[in-house]
């Protein structure tokens, strides 16, 4: 019998893994299992251009390369559990799938607030269905409360505002997008949002949602009461790893992998995308998850090679895996791009070009060396800074 690779999770990471396995010369069976009913689609537009216009699968579906035409997609059914000793996964419908190689690509789900009150009218944005449900309630008459001032919260705020809604953002931090960007750039972006008419109530949380059958408003931790018919909770995400419980893995934050994306001590099992926690020798070598869109593609490329090696189909690749994290966000007509690891250079942030209220390049440094760059606009400067980041690395 030929070999079988099971891919758990049929989103971007799962698709990229299938593509890279084929590109690496794997000719055996590939079965991708996903709990969503759709073929893989692109999430970033769900808080941006798709949310602003029309949310359909066609608008966001990934193009399928001919090379993955013979992948078997088992959609609409979650994997319930895995037995890594026996090399098999069990689906929620009772089916069991044995494998020679396993790709973990089950990503994240949004955290929900435990706040008391009605649940109707409260949204998150991760899936196509989430975005459809939110879109149907957005419009010029909507009063929208966004909870959380990270990227997704700020993108949804911008999109809702573009659709004419009244928008308030509530978050515990002092400035939006503070953790990745720092105080000054976060404050500058807050001013841009305020110019567009978004209201920020920061340094506060939501104590209770108001209303009977559905949300009509919220009471904040400082006693402020707000009217809101639509609530968007953008308060971070949790890893989908429960199906791996009982196998002795470190699942404290995603799935712990080695630098080749192999799940610690488990030959033939790799993880990709948002859920993979791996050390990056470009920086301090500490294992971290990276929730950037560039990561499913980068990790799938490396993980496919690792699986091929473990299955005895190709030789060992000694090259260290040191991707340059790359992130972007669109808010109004602002294009925010991030390269490298700004969070590691948070103690030494400098404006390198331009000014904070216009087009700008902000640099993040460790021991004087550039470790991350965030640009607003200035596309012609990207290549130069990216090249500098590729040269620098903090690793001792």
């Amino acid at each position: 019998m030929g070999q079988r690779i099971v891919i758990a999770g049929a989103s971007m990471g799962g698709l990229r893994a299938a593509e890279r396995l084929r590109a690496s010369g794997y000719t055996g069976e590939i079965v991708a299992v996903g709990d969503e009913t759709h073929m893989p689609y692109n999430r970033p537009p769900l808080s941006k251009e798709a949310l602003a216009s029309e949310v359909t699968h066609e608008a966001v579906a990934f193009r399928l390369r001919p090379a993955v035409a013979d992948v078997t997609w088992r959609l609409g059914v979650p994997i319930a559990s895995a037995d890594l000793e026996a090399r098999a996964v069990r689906l929620a419908d009772g089916a069991e799938l044995a494998y020679d190689g396993l790709v973990i690509a089950t990503g994240m789900r949004p955290r929900r607030l435990p706040t008391p009150g009605p649940t109707a009218g409260r949204h998150v944005v991760r899936t196509l269905e989430d975005a459809c449900a939110l879109r149907s309630e957005l419009g010029p008459d909507a009063r929208v409360l966004v909870i959380g001032a990270g990227f997704i919260g700020c993108e949804v705020a911008a999109t809702a505002r573009l659709l004419g809604a009244d928008v308030t953002v509530v978050a515990p931090e002092a400035v939006p997008m503070r953790r990745p960007l720092g105080d000054d750039l976060g404050a500058a972006l807050q001013r841009r949002h305020e110019q567009q008419g978004v209201r920020f109530l920061l340094g506060r949380t939501v104590a209770a949602f108001l209303g009977e059958d559905r949300v009509t408003g919220a009471e904040l931790s400082d006693g402020t009461r707000l009217d809101a018919g639509v609530v968007v909770e953008a308060v971070g995400s949790a890893s989908n790893t429960e199906w791996l419980d009982g196998n002795g893995l470190d699942l404290s934050d995603g799935v712990l992998c080695d630098n080749a994306l192999r799940v610690e001590g488990r030959p033939g099992v790799v993880a990709v995308g948002d859920v993979a926690r791996f050390p990056n020798p470009r920086y301090d070598g500490v294992a971290r998850r990276i929730e950037h869109w560039s990561i499913p593609t980068d990790t799938a490329k490396r993980a496919a090679v690792t699986l091929m090696t473990d299955l005895g189909l190709s030789g060992h690749d000694p090259a260290p895996f040191a991707p340059l994290p790359t992130f972007w966000s669109d808010q109004y007509d602002l294009r925010i791009q991030s390269f490298g690891a700004p969070a590691l250079g948070a103690d030494d942030i400098r404006v390198l070009e331009g000014d904070l209220d216009g087009e700008v390049v902000v640099g993040y440094h460790t021991d004087g060396a550039l470790v991350g760059v965030v640009l607003i606009g200035l596309p012609s400067a990207v290549a130069r800074y990216r090249a500098e980041l590729m040269r620098n690395s903090v690793a001792a």
Partner: protein, 62 residues
């Protein structure tokens, strides 16, 4: 192989440039310019560029 970039969708992120600099460039005005009929030997690079485009604006025909 034919490359088509939907310029209504493209936002000049320039990610494609890092994957296939022979085919995609950002000019000094910050706009994307590209070679519409690149050599077949560049197929892998062009496919990678299409994959990494944040707006999924790149289509490959043939």
């Amino acid at each position: 192989m034919k490359v088509i970039v939907d310029m209504d969708v493209c936002k000049d992120h320039g990610q494609c440039v890092f994957s296939a600099p022979e085919v995609f460039q950002i000019n000094e005005n910050g706009r994307l310019v590209y070679e519409a009929e690149p050599d077949e030997s560049l197929r892998d690079a062009v496919e990678e560029a299409a994959d990494v485009c944040p707006l999924q604006a790149i289509t490959i025909e043939g």
